[in-house]
């Protein structure tokens, strides 16, 4: 099977990269640097530790690790960085982007197709960027008779709500945007907003198919919210805490998946329903109600809602890993030091890097498991869906909860390990 265009030469590819770097250097040195010096001629230079930071000193600081390390350390420990970049939005968006690419390729291989191939020369890795540009450049059409303020704001609220979830996910020891004592509860509280947003948007469209889709989303999320919370409850009983960091740390000897496999199953099915993924994609059922509550979306409004959906996918996969698969716990594979004999301020922390590594690996595994049903299942009907949610999953979640309670009261396990 062809994996690259026919006339692809790796040498040409590297050559074009080298030319790109060459022209960047030329333009920066001829235009960029003189501009910077002109600007510095007019504005006073800043002071730091009693010395004037001249451009020369600034450049030397970039090269000298003893000077840059404190600055980087200060930046990465600010709350803004945590919310916006690392455990928060940007990290989640990176994972979401990778997920979209992986999903397309994975589904294509399953269906004996090739998937994205041409954008980016190698296996179509830049397809997502191309799609993003396409969506940005498209016209956004608001239906006549739409409730304009709600129509324009709900997609932004959708992404903002999804981004709020990413802040609560602990990625490594000490690396969480907001370490709440009620972290699990907060996640469920925020998840409760999504059906409201879907309903608001579908109502504001002033169109029939979106309205049916919005109502379906509401029904579906209500039916699956209760088994969702109940399945997480047995983990709360096991760990004795609602704090997600505590939940991970109480799995240092064994994963809760071993004691609560039924809960894990219920959680997995419920998260599929929360995410409106196949086989639970009723709110977007194409052949019945066109595109459900997304029928009237166009251009970047659609793009924003997709971004929010994939952020939500990351959060629910990460939550599964935190609750059942021991979060960042894993064998230490990174060395304690990368520069032997370095005595200055340290940024590198072996435990944290190790935690991030294992967390990302497990989360990706979980994301793949969530993507899998799309290739093998048809959509189910709404009455079967409600029946599954209200009768079967709640019972399963309760059974596992009683098993956990019996084990705790029988003295077999205590929160945090086997006795």
């Amino acid at each position: 099977m062809a994996t690259a265009p026919k006339d692809f030469r790796f040498g040409n590819f590297v050559g074009s990269l080298v030319w790109l770097i060459f022209w960047i250097i030329v333009i920066v040195s001829l235009v960029g640097l003189p501009l910077i010096f002109i600007i510095f001629f007019y504005i006073p230079l800043p002071y730091s530790n009693g010395e004037v930071i001249t451009p020369y000193l600034f450049l030397s600081m970039i090269v000298d690790p003893t000077r840059t390390a404190p600055i980087i350390k200060f930046i990465i420990h600010t709350d803004f960085f945590r919310a916006a970049v690392f455990p928060g939005f940007a990290f989640a968006a990176m994972i979401a982007a990778t997920t979209i690419y992986v999903e397309r390729k994975f589904l294509a291989k399953m269906q004996l197709r090739t998937g994205p191939l041409y954008a980016g020369k190698i296996e179509g890795i830049l397809q997502l960027i191309a799609d993003g540009f396409k969506l940005i450049s498209k016209e956004i059409i608001a239906p006549s008779g739409a409730d304009k303020p709600i129509f324009w704001t709900t997609p932004i609220i959708f992404v903002a709500t999804a981004a709020a979830l990413t802040v609560l996910i602990p990625v490594a020891p000490g690396w969480v945007g907001a370490d709440l004592d009620v972290g699990l509860l907060a996640i469920f509280a925020i998840l409760g907003f999504f059906p409201l947003i879907a309903l608001l948007f579908s109502w504001s469209c002033n169109s029939k198919y979106p309205f049916i889709g919005g109502l379906r989303a509401l029904h579906q999320m209500i039916a699956f919210e209760i088994p969702f919370i109940l399945s997480a409850l047995s983990i709360v009983l096991l760990s004795g805490s609602l704090n997600l960091t505590d939940i991970v740390e109480s799995q240092y000897s064994f994963w809760f998946f071993i004691i609560a496999p039924l809960s894990a199953f219920v959680f997995y099915i419920s998260s599929l329903a929360e995410l409106e993924r196949v086989p639970f994609d009723l709110p977007e059922a194409e052949s019945e109600i066109v595109a459900g509550w997304l029928t009237e979306t166009s251009g970047m409004i659609y793009g924003l809602i997709q971004l929010g959906t994939y952020l939500k996918l990351y959060v629910l996969a990460a939550l599964f890993v935190i609750l059942f698969l021991g979060g960042w716990m894993g064998p230490q594979i990174f060395p304690q030091e990368i520069i032997p004999g370095y005595t200055g301020e340290k940024i590198y922390n072996a435990t944290v890097i190790n935690g991030i590594f294992w967390f990302t690996i497990k989360t990706f595994g979980m994301i793949m498991l969530i993507l899998l049903p799309r290739g093998i299942n048809p959509r189910i009907r709404i009455d079967i869906l409600l029946h599954t949610g209200w009768y079967k999953l709640i019972v399963l979640a309760f059974i596992n909860m009683f098993i956990v309670l019996a084990m705790i009261y029988g003295g077999v396990i205590t929160p945090g390990g086997l006795q």
Binding site: I376, N377, P378, R381
Partner: protein, 391 residues
């Protein structure tokens, strides 16, 4: 549904009037939402039907075909018998050999000519291959209508096998214009028999995979079993044909009932099911595909090694005044032509009776009372091809 509701409403109304309160009665129409499915709907094709839903239930359905009417029957009256072939296959290009098959049979009767034996076999092979192409296309759309994207891609990909064979045989991918009065256009190419056997054997393995991923999928069965029941009596009264009729427990196949050309020499079973539901209507075409593979193998076996494939005709053939009626089993059921000739080189009147139009008559009967979510799986299981029905 609605009757129960209106009865309870009237009961409540009586109780409240007794108390002396003023009541504004809610009209039944207020509860209903009118939805237009098609012609620009992903679940309709070139076709529109209007439905009214009460909550999740469909209470009213009005099919509205005719968006792609081209006047094929009238066009036939202005062309001679041979010129009619290319435009007659346009209504259903995925089954173009079968739609010209019964036309050729009818014209042959009018002109009083007989097809050579080898030509009859090649016709039957092309017809069976084309039936596979059509059924695979139908199955692909059925898959995506139920949200099963893999079942869209696999049949659409495997359809290429038969398209390759037909391209080798006729020179065109979908619009073959292969059957003509007097036989077929050309003889089979070299190595066609081996290639055909190889592809059919491979395709039978793929059919097992289809069954595993789609027909045995519990979610698919949940959706289609006991949905849209069309009983045996209803099916006969409504006049449906083809797989829809066979799914309702009637073992009726034109190839068996009125064998044309070489079908009386072929040993095959009529596939039918007695469950009468959407699942049966989805499964019978699949069984037909499997049976078709056996038929193709037998045809290749029994075909004479050499001989004429076409009877030479005049350039502008004329028959005796009269009429003829012939039908064949197409991918969607009995497909018949009624042709009247006044002795000139052009037909006086051509009437095409297609399976699609007969099957769509069952749509309101099945949709009313079912859920909105069942709409695509009932509609497309009727084996309806909008363009063919409009002619």
């Amino acid at each position: 549904m609605t009757n129960e509701f209106s009865e309870s409403l009237e009961k409540k109304l009586e109780e409240t009037t007794k108390l002396g309160l003023e009541v504004v009665k809610e009209a039944t129409e207020d509860r209903l939402m009118k939805l237009s499915v098609g012609p620009q709907h992903p679940g309709s094709g070139h076709f529109r039907f209007t439905i009214k839903v009460d909550g999740d239930y469909i209470v009213y359905c009005d099919p509205d075909p005719g968006y792609v009417h081209r006047g094929e029957e009238k066009m036939c009256e202005y062309r001679n018998f041979i010129q009619n072939i290319p435009h007659l296959e346009r209504p259903v290009i995925h089954d173009s050999t079968n739609i010209t098959y019964s036309y050729s049979l009818a014209v042959e009767e009018l002109l009083g000519i007989e097809v050579p034996r080898r030509g009859q076999f090649i016709r039957a092979i092309a017809s069976e291959l084309n039936r596979q192409v059509y059924t695979l296309y139908w199955l692909a759309i059925y898959g995506i209508f139920l949200g099963h994207s893999t079942m869209f891609m696999w049949p659409a990909g495997d359809r290429e096998l038969f398209i390759d064979l037909l391209t080798a045989l006729t020179g065109a991918r979908v619009t073959h214009a292969f059957n003509i009065p007097g036989g077929v256009r050309n003889d089979i190419p070299d190595g066609f028999k081996e290639k055909c056997l190889e592809y059919v054997n491979y395709f039978e393995k793929r059919l097992k995979e289809y069954e595993n991923i789609f027909y045995n999928n519990p979610l698919f069965r949940q959706r289609t079993e006991n949905v849209g029941i069309l009983t045996k009596d209803d099916a006969i009264n409504l006049g449906v044909t083809g797989s829809v009729l066979r799914a309702s427990g009637v073992a009726y196949d034109v190839r068996k009932v009125e064998p044309y050309d070489v079908y009386n020499e072929i040993d095959f079973k009529v596939q039918y099911m007695k469950t009468c539901d959407s699942f049966a209507r989805a499964y019978v075409p699949f069984l037909d595909m499997r049976e078709s593979c056996h038929i193709i193998r037998q045809l290749l076996d029994k075909m004479p090694e050499s001989g004429e494939v076409r009877m030479k005709l005049q350039s502008n053939p004329k028959g005796t005044p009269g009429e003829s009626y012939k039908r064949v089993e197409s991918g969607r059921g009995a497909l018949s032509y009624y042709i009247v000739s006044d002795g000139s080189s052009r037909p006086y009147r051509v009437k095409i009776s297609v399976g699609s139009f007969r099957n769509i008559l069952a749509l309101p009967h099945l949709l009313v009372g079912s859920r909105l979510g069942d709409m695509p799986c009932i509609y497309w299981a009727l084996n309806y091809w909008p363009v063919e029905a409009d002619r």
